[in-house]
């Protein structure tokens, strides 16, 4: 017999020896990076949970919360917590895919311009940096892969937090340099990360590191680029018809056009471009998390002595008796705990009778409003409280909001500390339920800026970080039980 018949090459799948040779092929590599965010373990489900359960914007909508989610909101998670572990896995999946692009990019010779190569590498580095920033915020020093692993022996030990941030900052600098402005993208590529997104992300990271001056530099450049402005209607930022609007700096795209939720959801497959957030939080759906009492109390109302009701309250929340489905239905009979108030942001029922396990509303990861508020905080930190206040007031000037400028009765906003209070307040009401608050708490706690610990179960020396997933410890020969985070 001819033993050549033993040499079989997979006819259905491409191999690494032959692919990633052209610019077009390299672009498909970075496309896969974006798709990673659509996994159930990231934006389709667990990413918003891990932040919302850890922060103080949310409370359970009743007793129906699944056990692994109940653990996180009560702070009694252990290393087998599925929500946290899924997010860990999802973030590393994106990192791996980004590493594939970064590793192959220099070898691409055909059909590529340096501009395209820089853009694609910039996109990949943005994603890699964002993931490591999330990982470092949630878990501290984590295994650091700068190239994709080619054998099981190449697992990495925990790096220090500084080492992780060093890579994050370098990557984001490269991304800022390599990425085009948002306006340079055509409509068919509008979903890609732009220079502005990289600048905003780098600012977030610098602020996390306490380097407000460097952050300010990035934000200033972003603002000066004239690419963004606030939308007139606050609610436009959470609806499907207004995706990629002027305020949008960076968003994860979803669409119902390709079918329903892929419950094994790893961000793969031609369907599964949807998120289940609507059903998770929906007032006439599962209502697993509802706005916390402290968040509700944060909003300005005339009843509480403020000059004007903050319109963002009704744009953020549904109450029993509210109309939905373009005014056709009235909300009644919501399940679970009091208060009978639920999230409106990102809920599909503004135009539908009910939520289901799929929603095509894009997640706005970074809005220009956040950029302005970050800028305000940087200005305040580098010693210009007055400039800071002007940036906050820009947010309050939004047409649909139109609240009186600071200083107000409650927020005098004259000293650095008072301005900080105003920023904290404004961020909470402007960005509530947008997975910003938890990162802020982690940052401010670390920088001793919290007047009062907002998390009731918080236990020093434990709850700063999540436990390293048990399956990471079990399967990574370079990490063992003694490397676990304190308290777990």
């Amino acid at each position: 017999c001819n033993s050549n018949i033993l040499d079989k090459v997979n006819p259905t799948q491409l191999s690494t020896e032959t692919y990633f040779k052209t610019g077009t092929e390299l672009v498909t590599g970075v496309n896969a990076v974006y798709a990673g965010w659509q996994g159930l373990n990231l934006y389709a489900r667990e990413y918003f949970f891990v932040h919302d359960l850890r922060g103080d914007d949310m409370q359970p909508g009743g007793s129906q919360l699944e056990i692994q989610r109940a653990q996180l909101i009560n702070g009694n998670q252990d290393a087998s917590n599925q929500v946290a572990n899924d997010v860990w896995q999802g973030l590393y999946r994106v990192i791996h895919r980004a590493n594939v692009v970064i590793s192959f990019a220099p070898g691409v010779t055909q059909g590529i311009t340096e501009e395209l190569r820089n853009r694609v590498v910039g996109e990949a580095k943005f994603h890699r940096a964002w993931c490591y920033y999330e990982l470092a915020s949630l878990w501290g020093g984590v295994p650091l892969y700068q190239a994709y692993a080619t054998s099981p022996e190449e697992s990495q030990p925990r790096a220090t937090e500084d080492q992780v941030y060093e890579l994050v900052i370098n990557d984001l600098k490269d991304a800022v340099a390599g990425l085009p402005l948002k306006s340079a993208y055509s409509d068919t590529d509008i979903g890609r990360v732009s220079k502005g997104a990289a600048q905003a992300m780098l600012a977030r990271v610098y602020m996390q590191r306490g380097n407000y001056a460097a952050a300010k530099e990035q934000l200033a450049a972003l603002i000066a680029s004239n690419q963004y402005k606030l939308t007139d209607a606050y609610a436009d930022n959470f609806r499907e018809e207004n995706e990629f609007n002027t305020e949008s700096v960076w968003e994860i795209s979803f669409t119902e056009a390709f079918g329903g939720l892929n419950w094994s959801g790893d961000g793969n497959g031609i369907n599964g471009e949807v998120t289940i957030r609507g059903q998770e939080y929906g007032p006439n759906a599962w209502r697993n998390l509802i706005p916390s009492s402290s968040l509700l109390a944060e909003f300005e109302t005339q009843k509480a002595g403020d000059a004007k009701d903050d319109s963002r309250f009704k744009d953020s929340f549904y109450q029993v008796g509210d109309v939905f489905n373009n005014g056709r239905d009235t909300l009644k009979d919501v399940q679970g705990a009091n208060p009978k108030i639920s999230w409106k942001k990102y809920q599909k029922i503004y135009k539908a009778t009910s939520e289901n396990s799929q929603s095509g509303i894009n997640f706005r990861v970074i809005r220009y409003a956040e950029v302005l508020l970050m800028m305000a905080e940087c200005e305040n930190e580098v010693g210009s409280p007055a400039t800071a206040v002007s940036y906050i007031n820009q947010v309050r000037d939004r047409k649909s909001v139109a609240l009186p400028h600071y200083p107000t009765a409650k927020f005098p906003a004259s000293t650095k500390a008072q301005v900080f209070d105003a920023i904290v307040h404004e961020k909470r009401v402007e960005l509530g339920g947008e997975q910003i608050r938890n990162l802020d708490i982690l940052r401010w706690r670390k920088q001793n800026k919290l007047a009062k610990e907002p998390i009731t179960y918080f236990q020093k020396g434990k709850h700063e970080l999540l436990p390293i997933p048990q399956n990471e410890i079990n399967n990574n020969s370079k990490i063992d039980q003694k490397d676990q985070n304190p308290g777990y």
């Binding site: 017999c1 033993s3 033993l6 079989k8 090459v9 997979n10 259905t12 491409l14 191999s15 020896e17 092929e25 590599g29 970075v30 496309n31 974006y34 990673g36 007793s63 129906q64 699944e66 692994q68 109940a70 653990q71 009560n74 009694n76 087998s80 599925q82 590393y92 999946r93 994106v94 895919r97 590493n99 984590v142 892969y145 994709y148 692993a149 080619t150 054998s151 099981p152 697992s155 068919t188 509008i190 979903g191 890609r192 995706e243 795209s253 669409t255 056009a257 329903g260 497959g269 031609i270 471009e273 209502r287 009979d333 399940q335 289901n356 997933p469 990471e472 079990n474 399967n475 777990y488």
Partner: protein, 1119 residues
């Protein structure tokens, strides 16, 4: 008559007739059929022949013995003179005078238990030497003395002897029962057959009678409890193959044995009609299995289908119809119990969340229970109490109908069968149907050439269990769903009710799941082989066999759109339809040379094989949504269509050599070697060598044993060898790119951009997994074949175990690489014994087997020495580590329930539970054990809390016949294993609001209460439901697998129907799983089937489809 022209050289000096026959058999490759009584096997023969024609030689040898011969197929029947003969005897004078005075003519037919006439049966008048033998159709004529005192003795080699009193009958038809413990039994081995007496390997043989008795669709199911060392765990869903393990679990990887059907290795034998099967041989040790080299590590199951062995045309109808039911129901809460329990659960949850009790009571309970169940209904929720078990389980029919024909002439013989099998599942929405036709034939072409073929056509169709293999099984939905909800709601799209937000919980309606959604597979199989045997020289034979297995399948998934009304949780806004078509074509070519030769006392049997088997699998799948209508159930008129296709090819090249050497019929030696090359491995790693050696000593043939009459046969055997496992996917070593990821970058139109990335870590060092097998065994046959026993000890060491090596999630791959990691040892003892009694009208047999295997992981390379499996809400239930059996259950240990705050306080003074909430435990919560004594209850306190591998497994089969009545009782069981029951978690885990089992009525509510069920609190702050020994129960069971009572209608009843037409008729009633005794209470069945195809979740009851109890009636008619 070519076989009579074969040339024989023989030199016999005063040797037993029987041993001379055996020497002739080996040289001429023929088989003699004879009765020891007829040939008087110890009579001596002296004869010298050189290259003499067999026919001449036989005449020369047989004539002095007053014997004749007749060729029947490939066999030579030795018989007496056709007319009654009378041998000289002392009292012959009286006999003769009686004969002369009062003889009557007696006629009849002797049949085997398959209903075919047996030629050459010795019939003797008891206490005389008078008698006769049956003709080629099994008919006989005999004159016997009139009077009531005469008894006939029917005997035939391979069958139990039978005595019948003549009385005043003039026709006596007798059925003889095959005695499969006889010494001349031929056993199918790879690439040939061997006499059982010459075997040196561990081979278990199961006959057609045992295979055919159970109403099952799959041949592996019929092996349960039949052979020592073969463990079969049934999956309950119709058409689903069982888990089959030979001598333990050798690998974390796919541990399924290799199936070889009529000489062709196939993926599994699952769609072969069990009733077409003549015999199944299970090759257990290396000396037997190494002939299949790289695929034999988990044992080999050889399936031989039926062929015709008689010229007589025989027609059989075989038909049964039965009903299956769930044999156990779990006690679940009814409506009122549910609301009372739920109120307690939610109130405790509110208190835990710092809210006033009552905050979380669902709106429906407060105001909605008195509303009609749907608009237009008169019944209210409060009047509804749905028993979801009754809704989901049903009395399901099972039936099989078959027609079998066989016969032929001296040149051509055929076996033809057609069958139809149909089984509904005991759970709604599952069924299996199969129609199949088989034609097997053999033809002689001249003197030295034989040709033959097999052709099997099967069509089957299966509706597959919804949600099987996911943790939300139908069983879980049945337990969880709400008793006050009706099943149906005509106002909802789709027509089913579902839980709504006002119910405060979101279980799925299991009836909707299974009736609305359907997932079916239809497949067609064409499986055919063709062979040519050419006898080149005497003893030297060339055989070519070609075979092809073509398998086409169409899978259809139809999920129509539906909703559960306003506020309903479950809905689908479009119909989702997909179709997956696959085709596999696997041709095989085998060239084989074999040589058998006697040199004096030396016998050599050598075989050489070159073989090539390839396989191409192609598939195409398409699907999409229909947003308009549910009426179209094929993938057409779709929005967002999806399409994909693929192909996978593999090839295996093999060279095989085997040499068996026998000295004087006493000393046996076997050597085999196989070299396999496989496309599945990386260049440089493709080829593997699999040698084996074995030896046997037939102690009973030694002179010093000859005069111990009690011992008929005693053999000691031993073997050692290497076998491999290539149960891995194609292209396992290649680094490939996946194009699965998609993303929409476009703002204006819906266009998805494709992404390419590496989702699977490749491993170019992948090589064969190998198992070194050692086996020592003893076979003994005692008391003239009445009692037989075999004992085997084995030690199998798996090396370079191939597994999807777990990699840390931080590597970012979606799939783990295949890698050679670690080794596993399986050691064990097997005992198989049988006894048969043929005295008088009652004949019976009792067979039993028992086996014990100890499984131990010897090494796991550098994988951190642990592999976790059995995902359960982010936790792992099984652990595999060095020094322990594969996949043992792993969790916390409970230590009672805190009865009061004082107990909690004093415990908290000493320990902390890092898993529990900071405010926990409270009275009513479970106290967990700090196993390692570090003052903390944490994951390091998780220990072994059970194992799925039983300490031993056993089966015993009793068959008896008395006149026309037959009885079969088959009992089978396992002992010493545990089950991890997630069903129990669903019944009494109490983590959030769902319906539950009545065990929660015993939940802790007050101090001093003696219970092992903790308090009910939504959110479970103490993690009372964490993986612990609370959910582990004994998995031992003993089960009456089969009880059959049959009755063969007497010939005179059939006479009015035309005796010449219907030759036999049997009616029977049969049951399966009539009685089960088990320590396992928290699930539907202790036989826990597979889940999601993983070897690391064995023994976890996720709510797999349970076994049914079947009661059926059948009819067999022969023409």
């Amino acid at each position: 008559q070519d076989l009579l022209e074969r040339r024989i050289s023989l030199s016999a000096k005063n040797q037993d007739v029987e041993s001379v026959f055996k020497r002739i058999e080996k040289q001429a490759n023929v088989q003699f059929l004879f009765s020891r009584e007829i040939i008087q096997s110890k009579r001596k023969v002296t004869y010298q022949a050189t290259n003499e024609q067999l026919s001449l030689l036989l005449e020369h040898i047989l004539a002095p013995l007053s014997l004749k011969y007749e060729v029947v197929g490939q066999q030579i029947l030795i018989k007496r003179e056709a007319v009654p003969v009378t041998l000289p005897q002392q009292n012959s004078t009286t006999q003769r005078s009686n004969e002369a005075a009062q003889d009557v003519q007696l006629t009849g037919q002797v049949t085997g238990d398959n209903g075919e006439g047996l030629p050459g049966v010795n019939i003797q008048i008891k206490s005389t030497n008078r008698g006769t033998t049956t003709d080629v159709n099994g008919n006989y004529k005999l004159t016997v003395p009139e009077g009531s005192g005469t008894t006939l003795v029917f005997s035939f080699i391979g069958y139990g002897t039978k005595e019948v009193a003549v009385g005043n009958q003039s026709a006596i038809n007798v059925t003889l029962i095959a005695d499969n413990k006889t010494l001349n039994e031929v056993v199918v081995v790879g690439y040939g057959t061997q006499r059982k007496t010459s075997l040196t390997g561990a081979i278990a043989s199961v006959s057609d009678k045992e295979i055919g008795v159970l109403p099952v669709s799959n041949i592996s199911q019929s092996l349960q409890g039949r052979a020592a060392g073969v463990t079969v765990t049934n999956n309950g869903a119709p058409g689903e193959a069982p888990i089959i393990r030979i001598r333990g679990v050798g690998t974390v990887n796919n541990a399924n044995p290799l199936y070889v059907v009529d000489g062709v290795p196939v993926g599994d034998g699952s769609n072969v009609d069990p009733k077409d099967v003549q015999s199944i041989e299970v090759l257990k040790d290396a000396s037997a299995a190494a002939i299949y080299g790289s695929r034999a590590a988990n044992g080999v199951i050889l399936i031989t289908t039926k062929r015709s062995n008689s010229k007589k045309l025989s027609v059989t109808i075989d038909s049964y119809v039965g009903v299956q039911t769930a044999w156990r129901k779990l006690p679940l809460l009814n409506r009122d119990q549910y609301i009372a329990y739920g109120t307690d659960l939610l109130n405790n949850g509110d208190i835990y969340n710092g809210k006033p009790a009552g905050t979380s009571i669902p709106p429906r309970w407060q105001t909605g229970l008195d509303q009609p169940i749907y608009t237009g209904a008169t019944q209210t929720f409060r009047q509804t109490d749905t028993d979801w078990q009754d809704e989901m389980f049903r009395n399901a029919t099972i039936q099989q109908h078959r027609l079998e024909l066989s016969g032929g002439n001296d040149v051509s013989k055929f076996y033809l069968s057609g069958g139809f099998f149909s089984q509904d599942g005991i759970m709604l929405g599952t069924d299996y149907k199969r129609g199949n036709i088989r034609l097997n034939s053999d033809h002689k072409l001249g003197k030295r050439v034989t040709l033959g073929q097999t052709l099997y056509l099967a069509y089957d169709s299966r509706r597959i269990e919804q949600n099987g293999g996911s943790i939300g099984t139908q069983i879980r939905n049945i337990i969880n769903t709400i008793p006050y909800l009706p099943v149906y709601n005509p106002n909802n799209l789709g027509g089913f009710e579902g839980s709504k937000n006002v119910d405060g919980t979101d279980p799925s309606n299991p009836v909707r799941n299974v009736l609305l959604n359907s997932n079916t597979t239809q497949s067609n199989t064409v499986f055919s082989t063709f062979y040519v045997d050419v006898e080149i020289l005497t003893g030297l034979k060339y055989r070519f066999q070609g075979g092809i297995n073509i398998y086409n399948s169409i899978g259809r998934t139809v999920n129509p759109s539906y909703d559960s009304g306003p506020g309903g949780f479950a809905s689908l806004s479009y119909a989702s339809i997909s179709q997956d078509r696959g085709q596999s074509v696997a041709p095989i070519y085998t060239n084989q040379l074999s040589y058998i030769k006697d040199f004096g006392k030396h016998t050599i049997n050598a075989t050489a094989v070159a073989e090539k088997q390839t396989s191409v699998f192609s598939n195409i799948n398409l699907g999409g949504n229909n947003t308009i209508t549910n009426a179209i159930i094929e993938p057409t008129n779709l929005t967002s269509p999806r399409i994909g296709a693929g192909r996978a090819e593999s090839a295996i090249l093999s060279y095989v050599g085997r040499l068996n050497y026998e000295y004087s019929g006493k000393y046996l030696l076997g050597l085999s070697f196989r070299r396999d090359g496989s496309s599945k491995y990386a260049p440089g790693k493709k080829w593997g060598n699999f040698p084996a050696a074995s030896a046997g000593w037939r102690i009973s043939e030694e002179r010093f044993m000859k005069n111990i009459p009690a011992i008929t046969e005693l053999k000691l055997r031993g073997s050692y060898g290497l076998v491999g496992n290539n149960n891995i996917g194609d292209y396992g070593y290649q680094a490939t790119l996946s194009s699965d990821p998609y993303y929409e970058f476009d703002k204006t139109t819906s266009i998805e951009s494709q992404g390419y990335t590496i989702r699977k870590l490749a491993n170019r060092d992948l090589k064969w997994e190998s198992v070194a097998m050692t086996n020592v065994g003893i076979d003994a046959t005692l008391l003239n074949g009445k009692f037989s026993v075999s004992v085997d000890y084995f030690n199998n060491l798996t090396r370079d175990m191939v597994l999807n090596r777990p990699i840390p999630p931080s590597m970012g791959y979606d799939e783990a690489p295949l890698a050679n990691v670690g080794s596993v040892q399986n050691r064990g003892i097997e005992l198989q014994a049988g006894y048969q009694s043929n005295k008088g009208a009652l004949t019976w047999q009792l067979n039993g087997n028992i086996s014990a295997v100890r499984n131990k992981v010897i090494s796991l390379g550098d994988v951190g020495n642990t592999i976790f499996g059995g995902d359960w809400y982010g936790d792992n239930i099984t652990k595999t580590e060095v020094g322990q059996p594969i996949g043992y259950f792993y969790g916390y240990k409970t230590n009672g329930i805190f009865q009061n705050q004082g107990e909690v306080d004093s415990w908290k003074a000493q320990y902390t539970d890092v898993v529990a909430d900071k405010n926990s435990p409270l009275p009513g919560d479970i106290r967990y054990t700090d196993v390692n004594g570090d003052g903390k209850v944490d994951p390091s306190d998780k220990v072994k809390i059970g194992q799925f591998l039983p300490k031993f497994t056993y089966g015993t089969n009793f068959t008896a016949k008395w006149k026309g009545v037959d009885l079969t009782l088959f009992i089978q069981g396992v002992q010493g294993n545990q089950i991890y029951s997630t069903v129990k978690y669903n019944l009494e885990g109490m983590t959030r609001l769902f319906n539950a089992g009545t065990a929660v009525l015993d939940r802790w509510v007050r101090e001093g209460q003696v219970t092992d069920v903790p308090r009910a609190v939504a959110g479970d702050p103490n993690h009372n439901a964490r993986a612990s020994n609370r959910f582990v129960e004994s998995g031992s069971y003993i089960r009456m697998k089969n009880l059959t009572v049959g009755y063969a209608l007497p010939a005179n009843w059939l006479a009015p129907l035309g005796t010449s037409f219907i030759t036999r008729a049997r009616v029977y009633v049969s049951t399966t799983n009539l009685l089960t005794i088990t320590g396992y209470k928290s699930g539907y069945d202790p036989e826990i089937g597979s889940f999601g195809g993983s070897s690391l979740t064995n023994g976890i009851d996720y709510g797999q489809f349970p076994q049914a109890r079947t009661i059926m009636a059948g009819l067999q008619i022969g023409f």
